[in-house]
């Protein structure tokens, strides 16, 4: 019981317990959470309700079509019976074609091996505790592409060009970027490449037979297709564009006026034109540029176009990294008496490339999505092959095109989204400033 005594000056004196105050508004639990996050104010309440209405309007039909009402088993007939759901049997019936394209059935084990190697290589590169991560990365960047090419294309007789040109490029790369022992190897490789080209030029040797009788039969590039082709174009694009991009970025920031001008013009030209134009040029103009009689594979032309295009974007990403490196790092390296190549290779580039890993991954995501454009020059990547399959009269069912597009969309989404997550994870790891 509380007694209140009034004092003559107007004050009050309480004795005993005060009455209980009402409980404070709850700050945890579902209701409190909803009040704080959904209904804090009139405007937000209206917004929440309309957003909820939108979700309820869109989500059930989409999920129903994709999952609950969809046809999961059976064949084309099952899909004809139930037209109100996705027709997944279409995908399972065509699954192999979507993955391998028109690649020879008996030779598909070659692709399987390569895909497993790729998957394991990526996992090992991404997992940070892998012993010898750098060696694996080097292997995936320089050895795997060559290996993959010969495994996919097959080896019976190898045109000397196919050995000479990569040798030459690898040699140039080593000679400019590496040092010491590797540099010597680079010069030797270059010498070998030039010698081979010389041989071809004088008409002495045209082809060599490395595997003899146990040759892998040739599977020509028009038979390549599906997701494999998407990977071929995207991966060769990225592998070629990384070193090219680094060289272009260094060129653009070079103090030599002509080199810097040429790099800038090159970069801005490729960044200023659409990829469709690049692919068109690769199909139509490229044959015109070559001496009469020399022909290039359609796929190879597209890959060259994609690689040049991507290298311009890569150059800008790398340039961002180079600019982000403190000037003191350059000056420190110069003060130690390092020549330009060592300054870049040992001091600047390791830091700059680390900073721009998110940018590189983003460029790769863009490149990966852009590979679908080869459809326009009649190469059958994943989208192209699905587009061709939905025209099949046996599957002329209303839900099939939607299912095909949904399948392509989901496949690309999974690949791109996981790459984006990885890039964001790296970004978070590199971000050492203050966060709120």
């Amino acid at each position: 019981m509380t007694t209140i005594t009034k004092l003559p000056n107007g004050g009050k004196v309480y004795a005993g317990d005060l009455p209980d105050k009402p409980a404070p508004i709850r700050t945890d639990g579902l209701v409190a959470w909803m009040r704080d996050n959904l209904f804090n104010g009139v405007f937000n309440s209206i917004l929440s309700l309309s957003a909820l209405a939108l979700v309820l309007y869109v989500l059930p039909p989409v999920l129903g079509w994709l999952i609950f009402n969809a046809n999961w088993v059976g064949g084309a007939d099952a899909c004809r019976v139930n037209p109100d759901g996705a027709c997944w049997p279409f995908v399972s019936a065509r699954w192999e074609q979507f993955l391998y394209g028109f690649y020879e059935k008996s030779e598909r084990w070659r692709i399987d091996i390569l895909l497993w190697m790729l998957a394991i290589g990526i996992v090992l590169m991404v997992w940070e505790k892998t012993p010898g991560r750098h060696l694996i990365a080097m292997f995936m960047l320089f050895v795997y592409p060559v290996l993959a090419f010969f495994m996919m294309y097959g080896i019976v007789a190898v045109n000397v060009y196919w050995i000479a040109v990569p040798l030459l490029l690898l040699g140039v790369l080593f000679a400019t970027l590496a040092g010491g022992f590797f540099r010597v190897i680079g010069f030797l490789l270059m010498l070998g490449g030039v010698a081979m080209l010389w041989q071809v030029g004088s008409g002495a040797v045209q082809a060599i037979h490395p595997l003899g009788d146990r040759a892998l039969p040739i599977v020509d590039t028009p038979q390549w297709g599906g997701f494999t082709l998407t990977l071929v174009i995207a991966l060769s694009g990225i592998v070629a564009s990384l070193p090219l991009g680094v060289l272009l970025a260094l060129g653009r920031r070079s103090k030599m006026p002509i080199i810097s001008l040429l790099s800038t013009v090159f970069i801005e030209f490729w960044r200023g034109i659409p990829l469709v134009a690049v692919l068109f040029m690769a199909t139509i103009m490229f044959p015109l540029f070559l001496p009469a009689g020399v022909t290039f594979d359609q796929l190879l032309r597209a890959v060259i176009g994609v690689a040049l295009f991507a290298s311009a974007y890569m150059a800008e990403v790398v340039r961002g990294g180079l600019q982000a490196i403190n000037k003191g790092q350059y000056e420190g390296a110069m003060a130690l008496g390092l020549p330009y190549s060592k300054m870049m290779r040992l001091v600047v580039l390791p830091q700059a490339l680390k900073v721009v890993i998110p940018g590189i991954v983003n460029t790769f995501i863009g490149l990966f999505k852009d590979t679908t454009l080869v459809l326009i020059i009649a190469l059958f990547d994943l989208l192209g092959i699905v587009q061709a399959s939905i025209a099949d009269p046996n599957w002329s069912i209303q839900s099939v095109p939607y299912t095909g597009y949904a399948f392509v969309g989901i496949s690309f989404w999974i690949c791109c989204y996981s790459m984006a997550r990885y890039s964001r994870y790296i970004e978070g790891k590199l971000h050492t400033g203050h966060k709120r």
Binding site: L38, N44, F280, I284, T372, Y402, F412, R436
Partner: protein, 397 residues
């Protein structure tokens, strides 16, 4: 006392002198590239000669002989020249790029702000939108809108009876609405409209001067909206609505008259806007988040109210971060509009680098013109955005 010659380092040998080495490198590079260019030009000339292709731009005057489904602003018929085809394609490209940039900007800003909303549901929906559309290839989206959404729509014959007057219709032939035709006296509405724009500009000058002098603000934005939109409307009503809406008429097979927006345009625009808006939203979010938290706290401490805090403190600083990547998104949208060729929207690429090239075989000239257009558009867009950027950039003293 050491004499002078002992203090100066001996001149480095030729190969150790960076300046001389630079000259050698550049001479080598120029020689290699010059040789490459020479080889390309020579090969192209030989190849074209052997294929019997005449070089030069003479083909531009000859008659095209094919029809184009949409030719706004340019009068075009099958007997028009290839140069007219070029113009038609150019206009179509510019239209889709300009409308696309504007809509993508608006949608992107809205979603970017929604992404930062305190409303949990709205924020999650914006995130979902961004992650969904950003990670699906644009070409797939274009094909989806075109062949999965717009093409299966019912045709005009299923929607309208013969003889119907149709004011608005969405069908597989596109979006069709009544054509507005100005009657005599309508030009006064235009005069009022342009007058209002000039007046608003003068008003904003006056308001700035007054605020500098007295510190009093004037609601220029609301006044401007009122002037520019309401004044022409009042004039329109006062003049007795001098505009007639001529509906499309359903003949036996198709709709005649009216204004038609072809489905190819709608599909391309939808895909470009939805795709690019996802990127712009992320740029806007990053820009707003890049404004230091101290700025917002300082504004709150000064008692600036939330709407002013956003408009006067956060957005101007965020714009500096937003504008450069926004420029490259606009450029991307412009370049991506060339994907029109996949659904045969008659843009520059489709009609000029596609059909015209196939008909004439003048690959070099046509690709050169097409690339020149895209490069010019890129330069113009980035030039404009650079100008805007320098206007809003931080002025460091």
């Amino acid at each position: 006392m050491a004499n002078k010659s002992e203090l100066t380092a001996p001149a480095p040998s030729f190969w150790r002198d960076p300046d001389k080495r630079a000259i050698v490198y550049q001479v080598v590079v120029v020689a290699v590239i010059g040789w490459l260019l020479y080889a390309i030009v020579r090969n192209t000339a030989t190849n074209m000669e052997s294929q019997g292709l005449a070089s030069g731009f003479g083909f531009l005057t000859s008659s095209a002989g094919f029809g184009i489904i949409s030719t706004p602003l340019v009068s075009y018929s099958e007997s028009s020249s290839y140069f007219t085809v070029f113009l038609v394609g150019l206009v179509n490209t510019i239209i889709v790029a300009a409308v696309g940039c504007l809509l993508a900007l608006i949608l992107g800003f809205l979603i970017g702000i929604a992404r930062l909303s305190s409303n949990w549901l709205v924020q999650k929906m914006a995130t979902f939108y961004i992650e969904l559309f950003r990670n699906v290839p644009l070409l797939l989206q274009i094909l989806f809108w075109y062949s999965a959404v717009l093409k299966p729509l019912p045709g005009p014959r299923e929607l309208h009876e013969a003889g119907d007057a149709v004011f608005f219709s969405i069908n597989n032939r596109g979006v069709i609405f009544a054509e507005p035709v100005g009657q005599p006296g309508f030009e006064f509405v235009w005069y009022v409209f342009f007058g209002a724009i000039v007046l608003t500009w003068l008003l904003s000058k006056w308001a700035t001067a007054r605020q500098m002098k007295t510190g009093n603000q004037f609601p220029v934005f609301s006044a401007g909206v009122l002037l520019i939109f309401v004044a022409p409307l009042v004039a329109y009503m006062y003049l007795g609505q001098p505009m007639e809406f001529v509906p499309a008429e359903m003949s036996r097979f198709a709709l005649r008259g009216g204004v038609t927006i072809i489905p190819e345009f709608v599909a391309l625009l939808l895909a470009l806007v939805i795709y690019t808006a996802a990127f712009i939203a992320e740029i806007v979010r990053a820009g707003i988040q890049a404004v230091s938290h101290g700025q917002i706290e300082a504004a709150s401490a000064l008692g600036v109210k939330p709407s002013h805090r956003m408009r006067l403190v956060v957005v101007p600083q965020a714009m500096r971060v937003i504008v450069p990547p926004l420029t490259s998104q606009f450029l991307n949208l412009t370049k991506n509009s060339s994907l029109a060729t996949a659904i045969a929207y008659p843009d520059l690429f489709s009609v000029f680098a596609g059909t015209t090239l196939n008909q004439t075989g003048q690959a070099v000239e046509i690709m050169a013109m097409t690339l020149a257009v895209y490069l010019t558009l890129s330069l113009l867009t980035s030039g404009f955005m650079n100008w805007y950027n320098s206007r809003i950039a931080l002025v460091e003293r």
